[in-house]
Structure formats: C-alpha cells, structure tokens
C-alpha cells in the first residue's frame, strides 16, 4: 500500500508521494508550472510515473506500432503521447503492452533478442506505475461507483421488507449483462424511464402488501379428482385429458398444448402448492415415463409456457409436490415429455376420446390434482407487522384503518423503523429527516393516516438510499460490509443477525466476517446464491436462447434441458459444500444426474425413480467437470453447430482464466460453413497463418478443438453430422488433437482436460475473480491482480477448495474497500 500523507493534497500529488517518485515529481512540477499540455510536459510527466518504460516502448515497439496504420491496429506512439494518469484509455493500453510483454508474446522473437534485465525492468516499472495510479484512484473515488440493486435484488429486498414474495423482476426490462454479470455498476444507466419502472414496481409491491394486510388476499384450494382433471366426453375432440379406467389420461404426442387441464385455470396470480397423484401407462422397458408440468394460457396466440418441473411416473401411482408461481388465467399442462418415447398421431390438431388407446403409446394417468394458493413470503400477521409495527389497526370495510388516537408521532416512529430496514444502514436522524418533516407537514388526522404512511413508504422505496449501495471511499463501514456479504451470498439484504453485528460494529475483523459467511452459506438462501451466480458466471441464464435443431438432435427435449441446469447447480453446490478443489471444476469423477439425463448421456446408473443422485463417472471418461455438462455445451453453441472459437473464448474466460484480448477491429469473424467442403479446422488454420491472429488463437483454439467432441446439444460425438436426402448421417471424423499455447500436446478431449485441470491455480484464481465481480459490481482491475494472487495462496493448504476461496474473497482488501 502507499503511505498516506497527513496533509490533504491533490490526488496526483498523493500518487507521487510514493518515495520512489518524489525526485522526479519535483522536476515535473517545475515543468508543469510553466507550460500546459505541450508534448514535452506530458512526456516528462509520464516519465515521472513510468520511469524508463516509455523509452523501452520507443526502442522496442515503435518499429511496427507507429501511426494509424500500425500493425494489429495498435499505435504505441499515440499511447506515449497521452497522459498516463489522466487518460484511462492510455492506462488501458499500457496494461495491454504490459500483458503482451509479460507473457513473452511481444516484442516478437524475430525482432531480435531482448535483454532479460531490460525486460524485467520495464515490467517492474510499468506494473508499479499502474498499481500506484489505480490504487490512488480507488482510494479517492472508490474502485466501484455506487451500484444499484439489480432487478432480482430489488425483488428480494422488497419481498423481505414487506414479507411478500412476488415476481417483481419480470416487471422491469432486463439488464444488460457484461461478461455475464448483471450488476456491473458502470453499465447500469439511469433514466426517467427506469425510475418510472421502479416506481411501478414499488407501487405494485406496496399495493399487494396493503391488500394482504387488510385480509383481501386469502389462501384458496382447488381439489380436482380424476373426473375433473379429465374434460372430454365420448365423441368429443380437444386437447384435454380423457377418463380411462378411473384416471385422467394423456398419451405421448408432439401436439402443442395436448395435456392442458382446463379445470385447473387459476383466477389469481400467486404461488401455488401443487399435489399430483399419477402413474404411467404402457411404459417402455425402463418401466417409467418422464413427464413435464408447465403453466400457461395454452392457446396458440400465447404459446409462452412456464416450466414447473419434470417427473418420472411409474405403473405404481406416486404423489408429487411442487411449489410454483402461476399467472392469473393460466392453467396447467401435464404430459409425457420424453422425445425418445413413441408418439401417438392425431388428426386435425385435436385428440378425440379413445383415439390414443389403440396406438399403444406410453401415457400418464392422473388420479388427483390439488392446487393450494400459498404465501411463501409471509403470513398476513407478518405483513402487518412489517407495515404497521405497533400501530393499532381497526376493522374497516375500506381496507386499512388506524385507531382513532393515532398521532403524527406514531407514524414517525414506524417510518423511522421502516426506513432503517429499507436503507440498510445506520438509521441516523439526518438520513430520515425529510420523511419525518413530510409527515409533520401533511398529517391530517387518523383517518388519512394510512394513505399518508403509504405515500412515505413509496418515497422511501424510491430514494437513492434504497436503490443504491451506500458506500464511502476507503475501508467499508460495518453496514456496507454486511450488505456486500449478504447480497453476494444470499442475493438479499442482511438478515437479523448480520444487521445486529453491523450495528454493533463487529464486522471489522476477518474472523467475524468469515463466521457470518459460513452461516449464510449454510443458510436457507444458499440456493439463491447458486442460481444467481451460475446464471451469470456460467451463462446458465441463456439456456433457452436457442432451440437445438430437432432433426439433428432427436433425443433432446425440455426435460433434458432443465436437467442440464439442475446438474450444474447441484454440482457447484457440492463443490462448495464439501470444499472440494477448484481442480474439480474442470475434472471431476462424479456428477449429479436423474434417470432422464443419465439416459441422455448414456450412463448406466441405479437412480431412484424421479430422484437426483450423485453418480460416479469412473467408467465414463468423457464426462466429468463443467466442460462436459450439457448446460455448458449448450450455452456455448448456437443450437445447430459448434464453433471452436466461441467455445474456446468462453472456456478461457469463464473457467480457465486465460485472458483473451478483444479481437482486432479489422479481422472478420470466420463464417461457419457446414456444407462439408471446408472444415472449421481448415478455416482456422488459414486464419492463424495471419500473424495478428496467431497469438490469440494459440490460446483460444485448444479448448475449442478439444470440445468439438461434444455437439450443440451436449452429446458426445466422434463424427460430425451431414445432411443428405433430408436425413442426417455421420460425416467427417472429429479431430480434437492439438497443442496448448505453451506447446504441450494433447491427443483427445480427456488429455486436454487433464492438462487444463493441472493448472489449478489459474482455475482457482478465475473462480475467485468471478466471485469478486459478483460481489463488488466491477470487473477485475489491474490492481486486483495482486489481491487475487494472495487469495489463491491463502487457499493452497486447502487444495484451493471452493469454500475456502469464497472465504478468502470476502475478507480480501478488494472486497472490504469501496
């Protein structure tokens, strides 16, 4: 760290207070006093920070990188002419030069020998200059600017405050994701459109809570025996189930919405607990039929269906339970949903009574169905407590009414309480004064008091103190630490214990922070963390972005797709809970499967019906590790074919921690050609022959080629498919042999994985980096590199266990400083 100066001084002087620079700094001041912004000034100013580094660039880079037509589009001359400290773009370019020299790529070998001492000196000077400048900037302004709650965080924060649970995030336009993450402060923009949306969400949440508190919203139950699940008389044709031997039946078929249950239509949007009793008809050899549950309007003008779950039914009836949100006027669709099953055919887009029976296809028989509206966010009493605290309520036909003796002071007491929770920080008088003043100005008797209170809550929930993380430059306060920790590991505001610890100022010790981190990871919201983090880090949020080509991938279906997600989430959960090594992210001897996914992967397993199990992959060398998860293989492909470049970049960035710079602006993307005349591999060979492409592709292509053994739908393949006469047939053999950038060769996917996993430090470092981004809302800066190195070292003893890495991240300097 830089020693602090006692006297306040302009930032750039403090930058230079590092003793190493004091002498040159004096020279620089003398020059700047006389002439501004002429070239020699900048040069000497830059030299004062960078020492001899500019000279090194002049000697070693300018031959090729000079002027607008410089090689690789990189103009080092203009970099030298920009102010190193004042121009963040210039800093960015210096970092690029540092990285290229550091990894030995530049200056190119054919440009002559570089003295090792001169190289070392350049690297040291540049590294130090960048670090000192960035650290000073982070110290004065903060590494991250005020970040806003993401849509999901807003939903959970409002939910927690009001003891409600509503899918509010859906009401706001989706955020831009930066390298996967939705919470990057610099990418969050603000406009009156956004504020208007925010106000709408707040109104919606408050209105719901108000109505819940006034008991307008109640639990309700719908019981459907088989006769009511079925909705088809003899002779009738529709897409509902029909009665057969005392059960309501749906046959395996590809007809849209076949399986809709008209009588399950719900009148009110809400959470429903569904209980279904069902069994299988004509099951295949396996003895069971995989089915899907979805909700939707189930008509062709509104084809969007919401996934609920998949179940495996057997000839023995079983009971299944689900908790799901259903929109008003939506109904359930329950049907066999396994694409490998034989399917019945029906005429004219409808299914007539008895038409499925003779076709002898598998089906589902439903014996009873129950929908109960529930309130997982909280009971009516809890909502009342959050909204009204100690205020006396009296019964009223028109919603909420307060006792006749309610005073302005009573309201102010509740507003103080509510604001403290909403602002997630110390509830000082200063912070809430405007809201208390507002009550004094407008209080007009008890009868208007509920409206007034609601108005003030509305304002509090639109205040920047609610919408943004409040953090001061420098070391974070206990409350700010509590917020970071809680939003990072649970996606919601601090719980009671954490808030108490923050109030007591206890969160300044690493031990206390780690203790709370462990508690949160073991707590009830661990799943939120896993879902949110993997959605962003691993792009699982993109799982349905493309639909795999049905002709190429006949076995693929929604049951498989949703099992993909579950596999990855359960896998990461296990690695964290059991503190397994980061190495297993790349190479693991187990995974989580259900019967359907095991079949899809071609893995023999003895799994309980409809259950998930941890399965050993000892006999299945092609599976194991994230690279072999269907989820990852699908989100890195486009639904039809695979691109080694896109997959390679993804794997380097998200998993292996191999930095890939942006492609030069003037190089075209390769256009995939699946007609078979040229293979992607041949095209890439040509591409790499261009020197400006070679250096990046030496890193991108190896994982990309290794993963060519997996198709766009996540299956292992030895051959590419080609289409002839309307059918897909095996064509060219997959060739995954290649070598890493450092020359180590591999012959197969498994050999590649072995090599990649052996670089466990990098994998661990990358995991820590992604968590750091998730926790702080800013991408990794040059100044964070050292911190990440320390984190990795700190976990070496624990074999870089994921849980140890998380604990090291939350007590790192970067995490604890704005």
């Amino acid at each position: 760290m830089i020693p602090c100066v006692d006297q306040p001084a302009p930032r750039w002087i403090r930058v230079l207070s590092d003793c190493r620079f004091v002498l040159v700094f004096l020279t620089a001041v003398l020059i700047t006093d006389h002439a501004h912004a002429t070239e020699p000034d900048l040069e000497s100013l830059n030299a004062s920070v960078l020492g001899d580094a500019p000279e090194f660039v002049r000697e070693n880079c300018l031959d090729c990188h000079d002027g607008p037509d410089a090689e690789g589009g990189f103009d080092a001359a203009s970099m030298l002419q920009a102010s190193f400290r004042a121009d963040s773009h210039a800093m960015h370019r210096w970092i690029r030069v540092f990285d290229r020299v550091n990894d030995g790529e530049m200056p190119p070998r054919d440009a002559g020998d570089l003295e090792p001492e001169s190289r070392e000196r350049f690297l040291n000077e540049t590294r130090q200059a960048i670090e000192v400048t960035l650290q000073a900037d982070h110290r004065d302004r903060g590494r991250v600017i005020a970040r806003r709650l993401t849509n999901d965080q807003l939903e959970r924060t409002l939910g927690g405050l009001l003891a409600i649970d509503l899918p509010l995030a859906r009401m706001i336009p989706e955020e831009t994701r930066v390298d996967g993450f939705t919470n990057i402060a610099a990418a969050q923009s603000m406009s009156h459109y956004h504020l208007d949306d925010h106000l709408r969400v707040v109104d919606h949440a408050l209105d719901f809570a108000w109505r819940k508190a006034s008991k307008e919203i109640q639990r309700s139950v719908m019981e459907l025996p088989a006769e009511r699940i079925a909705n088809k008389r003899e002779g009738q044709r529709n897409r509902d189930p029909e009665m057969r031997e005392g059960a309501a039946v749906i046959w395996s078929s590809s007809m849209a919405f076949y399986g809709r249950i008209s009588n399950s239509r719900v009148k009110r949007s809400g959470w429903y607990e569904i209980t279904l009793n069902a069994s299988a008809l004509n099951p295949p050899e396996s003895g069971s039929v995989w089915c899907s549950l979805r909700s939707g309007e189930c008509i062709s003008r509104a084809p969007l269906m919401f996934w609920i779950d998949s179940i495996e039914v057997t000839e023995q009836p079983r009971e299944f339970k689900f908790l799901t949100w259903i929109e008003d006027d939506h109904l359930l669709e329950i049907r066999p949903a396994d694409n490998t099953l034989r399917k019945a055919r029906f005429r004219n887009g409808q299914v007539g009574f008895g038409e499925g029976e003779p076709q002898k296809v598998p089906g589902i028989a439903m014996h009873s169905l129950r929908l109960e509206r529930v309130f997982p966010g909280g009971t009516t009493e809890q909502v009342r407590e959050r909204l009204f605290g100690d205020l006396k309520l009296k019964s009223s036909r028109k919603g909420i009414a307060f006792g006749r003796n309610t005073t302005a002071e009573d309201l102010k007491r509740e507003v103080t309480r509510f604001a403290a929770a909403a602002f997630r920080t110390e509830p000082t008088a200063e912070r809430i004064q405007p809201y208390l003043d507002w009550i004094d100005e407008r209080f007009d008797g008890a009868s208007q008091a509920p409206d007034l209170l609601k108005q003030v809550y509305r304002a509090i929930l639109c205040s920047p103190r609610f919408m943004f993380f409040e953090e001061q430059p420098g070391r974070l306060s206990s409350h700010a630490i509590a917020n970071r920790l809680s939003y990072c590991l649970t996606g919601r505001p601090p719980d009671e214990l954490l808030r108490q610890a923050a109030d007591a100022g206890e969160l300044q010790s690493s031990e206390a922070i780690v203790a709370h981190a462990r508690r949160l990871l073991d707590g009830p919201h661990f799943d939120s963390f896993i879902n949110e983090f993997t959605d962003q880090w691993l792009d699982l949020a993109d799982i349905d972005f493309t639909e795999p080509d049905r002709r190429m991938f006949r076995e693929y279906d929604l049951v498989v797709q949703n099992a993909f997600l579950e596999e990855t989430r359960r896998f990461i959960t296990t690695l964290i809970q059991e503190n397994r090594s980061a190495r297993q992210l790349v190479d693991a001897e187990f995974t989580w499967l259900n019967g359907r996914l095991a079949d899809y992967y071609g893995i023999d397993s003895e799994l309980e019906t409809s259950e998930w199990g941890k399965v050993s992959l000892a006999d299945h060398p092609h599976r194991g590790g994230l690279l072999t998860h269907g989820s990852i293989l699908k989100v890195t492909a486009n639904g039809t074919n695979t691109s080694p470049v896109l997959r390679g970049v993804w794997v380097c960035d998200r998993l292996l921690g191999i930095p890939i710079p942006e492609p030069p602006a003037n190089v075209p993307a390769i256009e995939p050609d699946i007609r078979g005349a040229t293979t992607v591999r041949q095209i890439l060979e040509k591409h790499r022959a261009q020197s400006e492409c070679a250096s990046c592709h030496a890193r991108i292509d190896p994982p990309g080629f290794a993963l060519e053994h997996f198709d766009a739908a996540g299956r292992y393949r030895d051959f590419y498919l080609t289409r002839a006469n309307g059918k897909y047939k095996n064509a060219a053999k997959v060739d995954s042999a290649y070598q890493l950038a450092d020359g180590r060769e591999f012959d197969s996917f498994t050999e590649f994985r072995e090599l990649a996993a052996s670089d466990v430090e990098n994998v661990a470092r990358n995991f820590a980096a992604k968590l750091m981004v998730h926790a702080t809302g800013r991408e990794i800066t040059f100044a964070d590199r050292k911190v990440l190195d320390e984190i990795v070292e700190a976990t070496r003893e624990k074999q870089f266990g994921l849980r140890s890495l998380i604990e090291a991240v939350v007590v790192s300097d970067t995490f604890l400083t704005k």
Partner: protein, 404 residues
Amino acid sequence: MAIPWLSAMEARAATKPDAPIRRFVSISIGLGLLGDNLFPEKGGRDYESSRYLQPLQDLRDRFTVASGMSHPDVNNGHRAEASILTATPIGNSGSASNTISVDQLLAKHLGDETRFPSLVLSTSETQSPSYTDTGAMIPAESSPANLFARLFIDPSDKEQLRQADRIRSGRSVMDLIGEDARRLQRDVGAADRNRLDAYFTSVRELEKRMAMNERWAKLPKPKVEMEPPVPPDPNDLVGCQSMMLSLMKLALQTDSTRFITLHIPAGNPRVPIKGVEEGYHTLSHHGRDGEKLDQLALIEDEIVASYGDFLRSLAGFQETEASLLDRTSVLLTSNLGNASSHDNRNVPVLLGGGGFKHAGHLAFDRKRNEPLANLFVSVLQQTGLGVGEFSSGKGTLRGLEPTV
C-alpha cells in the same frame, strides 16, 4: 464520443413555425438481412432489382438502398444492437457508456409538440435501439393492444381519476426523494456524486413527464377507425411487425408522435410461414447450409415486403401539399451485416420517403465501409435539426440529396 452541442434556441430556429411537420421512423432488425438477397449488383438508379427488393419496385423512386455501410469501430455482434442508432461503440469491458440515439435527439429538441415525444416499440420483448442522453436504453413497448390503448383510448372517468391521483402523488414523491438525494449527495464521494446527478436528472425528467401527462390527460385522444388490435401469435414475427407498422402509421397520421423506432429482436420464434421449420435465430446461423438459407430468405422476404407496404400506406395519406411519406424518413437497418458470423459490417440500409431525391442503389465500398451515421446527419438535417455532425457521422451522406 461528443454529441453536437445544440441549444434549444437553435433547435427552434431550425423549425420555422409554419414549416411542414417532419418525422423519422426507424425499423431495426436484430439479425440483419442476407446481403446477397438484398443488395443489387449494380449501383445507381437503374440497378437490377434484387430478390428482396422485387416487391418494392413500384416505389423505386421513393427509397434508396445503400450497401457498404456500417458504424466505424462498432463490433461485438449482437451487442452492437445498442449502437444501431447511436453509432457509439460499446466495448466488452462494460465501462464504455452509450450516447443519445438519433431518434431521441430529435425527440429531445422537436418532440414537445405531440402527446408522445417519441414511441419506442418492438415486435417482442423490451430491447430497443433508443438511448437517452444519459446513455440508458429506453425499454420498448411490444404489445399492440397496449400501444393502441395508449394512443387512442381515453381511460374511463374512474381510471382517469386514479391516474391523476397517481401522477399528483407521484409528483410529490419526486419532490421528497429529490430532497433526500440532495442530502445524500453531501455524504458521498466524488464519483458517486455524478451517479446521483443522473438520478437527479431522472427525477426531474420524470416530474416533467408527469406534468406533461397531466396536461395531455385533459385533452381527448384522437379517434381512429380501427378496432383495438388482437395480437397475432407471438411467433408470427412478420404479423407482429405489420400490426405495429399499421399502428405506427395511425400514430403519425394523427400527429400523436413524430419519432418512432421499431425493433425486431434477434429472438428465436418459429415463424409460421410455409416452408419454415426452424427458429429464426437458429436459421440465422445458417453456416451456408442451403436449406437453412432458403428458410431464412422466406422470412426475410416478408420483412422487406412489409416495409414496402408501410411506405405505400404512408404514401397513400395526403397532408397539405405532400404525402405522409414525403414528410417521413423511414429507415430500415440492422447491427449485423452477416448474422451467421456476427459480422457488423455491410449492414442492410433502406431509406424511404422523407423528402430526399432517392438515388436507387448507393453502392459504397464493401471493404472500407461508409459511416452509417452520415446518413443520420442527412436525416437529422432534413427533419429539422441543423446539425453538422452526429457521433461518427462527420457530414451528410454522399449521393443522397434533399429535394428542397
């Protein structure tokens, strides 16, 4: 990138009180169009029509097709959707921020005259190419029914009261949080103060919008001879596009707004056109596969034809001295020139109407592209903003002259 400075005074000076109303419509396609089917081989007015332009041949002198155009330094494939109308490169790093889009620049200076300063629409979901001057994306309206209601249906008396109430109390909420933000600003660091400024601006803007809405709420909405639309199947991309376009025509015709963007996102619906079997996005990654190219072309045929129908419908509505088309520049473009490889160069460009001497096919260099923002400068000037530059556009487009 700097936006040309323009005072409100200058903006007003640019539009004389009796000057005819000028309008701008942009239609953007998230997946582009197949260049081989769109761009004619020959440049100039006597080009031989391409496949996609075939159904537009009766309009030959009322639109220009331009090839060899793109935004300099804009790459990143789909992410460049953010740059379609701003021409600002959005880096991967996330630290780059966007600038105002060409439609919003017009709305900002010339949008006060109408109930809606601008309309930002899409055929599905909320992605749009329209950005505010704080660099924030404006979420698009994708429901034709909602749009129709906003444009033409007066709320019931009860609803009107409720809305007025919400606006009134909303305005006082804005006062209160504005006060709180001012206090907060004293406590936070320099970097966050800028952040709060953007929040402040939003509070003030929203307050202003609420005040305007309060005024407009007292005026009845225009009446049109059209039943509230029944939205087509959301998979029916072209049906959604056509329905939005017919509502847009009504919005222009009734002078409810003068600036509209319509975005057709890069989604993956299975478009109900005979012969199309796979998702739109899936097809866009055709990998030169003949069957996929054929299916994609079937969809794109209809997208372009629907654009032609829109031009025709505007041409059919006569205002004093000119048709609606002559007063409306209708742009069709994309962030992608080749969706299969995510290439952002050589994007499709069609410009219809707007009082230009249409030039047939403006064939620019496919290797060294012409900045698309030059066309924006031409449109801005023709629509009444006397700017000389916009983003990477440093002048008007070569070869495209205004009629007056």
